[in-house]
Amino acid sequence: MKWFRRPSSAPLWKDEFSVFTADERYVNRRQFTKFLTMTSFAMFAGNLWVLARSLVRRAPVYPAQPVAALGELPVGGSKTFFYPTSAEPCILVRTAAESYAAYSQKCTHLSCAVYYEKESNRLACPCHQGYFAVVDGAPIQGPPQRALPRVRLENKDGQLVATGMEGEQV
C-alpha cells in the first residue's frame, strides 16, 4: 500500500480502488480494525514496559553532604544549599533551638523557589501564594497539592549532614 499519492492525471478513484490489491489506497474496514488492534496492543506493551521499569527500579543512592554547623544559624534563620546535585536547591530552617528542618526549595506546583517566612512560621512560594508547613512540608494554602520533598538530616559531631531525600517525585 502506498501512503503518499504521487501527482498524476489519473482520477483519485483509480488510485483508491486500484485493480491491483497491492496498490489500493482506500482504507477498508479490515485495515482500520487492524490499525486499532495494533495501536491498542502497542499501548498495552508500553504499559507493561512502564510496569516492568517501576518494578526493577532501585532506590536512588544519596550522598552525605555537610550543610551547616550546628550553631551557624540563629533560631528562625534559614540557609539555602544544593542537594543531592548542584542543580537542586534546598532550604534549611532552624525552627527552634534544637530543631532543624530542610526541604527541597522547588514548589510542588510550578517549581518556583520557596522561602522561609519567619513571621508566620511557614514556607512561602511567591509565585502563586502557596504555603507549606515548616513541620512536615505539607501544603497549607494555594495551588500546591503535594508536600515538599524533605531532606534527611543527621547530626554528626556538631555538623548537620544531609543524608537523603524523602517523598521525592520522580
Binding site: F17, V19, F20, T21, A22
Partner: protein, 199 residues
C-alpha cells in the same frame, strides 16, 4: 507461485473434458465449471481446445469493472468477481479479449477461473491440471516445460493494437515470440461459412 507456472497447449487437447468435471468438483464453485472449452471447427474436425483464464498483467476485465469487483492479487492471480460487489453488468464479459469471464444468470454474478486460488496459494496444483491426461493444461516448473516440450511458452498476445502480457503461458511454435490474433478476420463468416460454436 511456489515456482510453478501454468502452461496451456491446445494442440494436446484430446477433448476428454476431464478438466470441466474436475473444475466442477471444486468446493468454492461446486457444480459450475470455470474452464473455457471450445470445439475449434466442429463440422470439419474433432479438435478441441480447453483453456483457463490467462491472468493478464493488466487485466482488461478488472479495468472495466464499475464495481471494483475484480482484483489482481499480489501473486499475480486475477480473482473471480467478489460476490458482495459484482453487480452482474457483463462489462468484463464483453471486454475480455480472450472471452474468459462468464455471467452466471442464476447468481447474477460473473464467475471465472481464479486458478484454484484456494489450492495454488498453498502450493497445490489447480484441479484441471491435476486431471488433464495429455497435459494440455499443465501446472509445472519452467524447467520441466523446457525439458519436456518442443514448443516455446509465450505470454505475449496482440489483439489488433492491444498488447497483452499474461501470467499463464501458451505453448507456441519455437520461433514464435508473441501470438497475434486478428479478431475481425476470425469472426468474418464468409458467404457460406458456418460459425464455429463456442461451448
Amino acid at each position: 507461485m511456489f515456482g510453478m507456472e501454468f502452461y496451456v497447449d491446445p494442440s494436446r487437447c484430446i477433448g476428454c473434458q476431464a478438466c470441466l468435471k474436475a473444475c466442477e468438483e471444486c468446493e468454492t464453485h461446486r457444480g459450475v465449471s470455470m474452464i473455457n472449452f471450445d470445439f475449434v471447427d466442429r463440422p470439419e474436425t474433432i479438435a478441441t481446445a480447453a483453456y483457463v483464464c490467462w491472468h493478464c498483467d493488466n487485466p482488461t476485465c478488472a479495468q472495466v469493472c464499475p464495481a471494483d469487483a475484480i482484483k489482481k492479487y499480489d501473486d499475480g492471480i486475477v480473482g473471480s468477481s467478489l460476490k458482495p460487489r459484482c453487480i452482474g453488468c457483463s462489462n468484463c464479459v464483453l471486454a475480455c479479449p480472450f472471452g474468459i469471464p462468464k455471467l452466471i444468470p442464476e447468481y447474477e454474478q460473473m464467475m471465472k477461473c481464479d486458478m484454484c486460488y484456494d489450492r495454488t496459494s498453498v502450493g497445490k496444483r489447480p484441479m484441471c491440471a491435476t486431471v488433464c491426461p495429455s497435459q494440455a493444461l499443465a501446472y509445472v516448473t519452467p524447467e520441466t516445460i523446457a525439458a519436456t516440450r518442443r514448443e516455446k511458452p509465450v505470454n505475449t498476445f496482440w489483439f489488433g493494437e492491444q498488447k497483452i502480457t499474461t501470467k499463464v503461458y501458451m505453448m507456441a511454435p519455437a520461433a514464435t515470440d508473441s501470438v497475434s490474433i486478428d479478431v475481425a478476420d476470425y469472426t468474418w463468416e464468409g458467404e457460406h461459412e458456418v460459425v464455429p460454436q463456442a461451448f
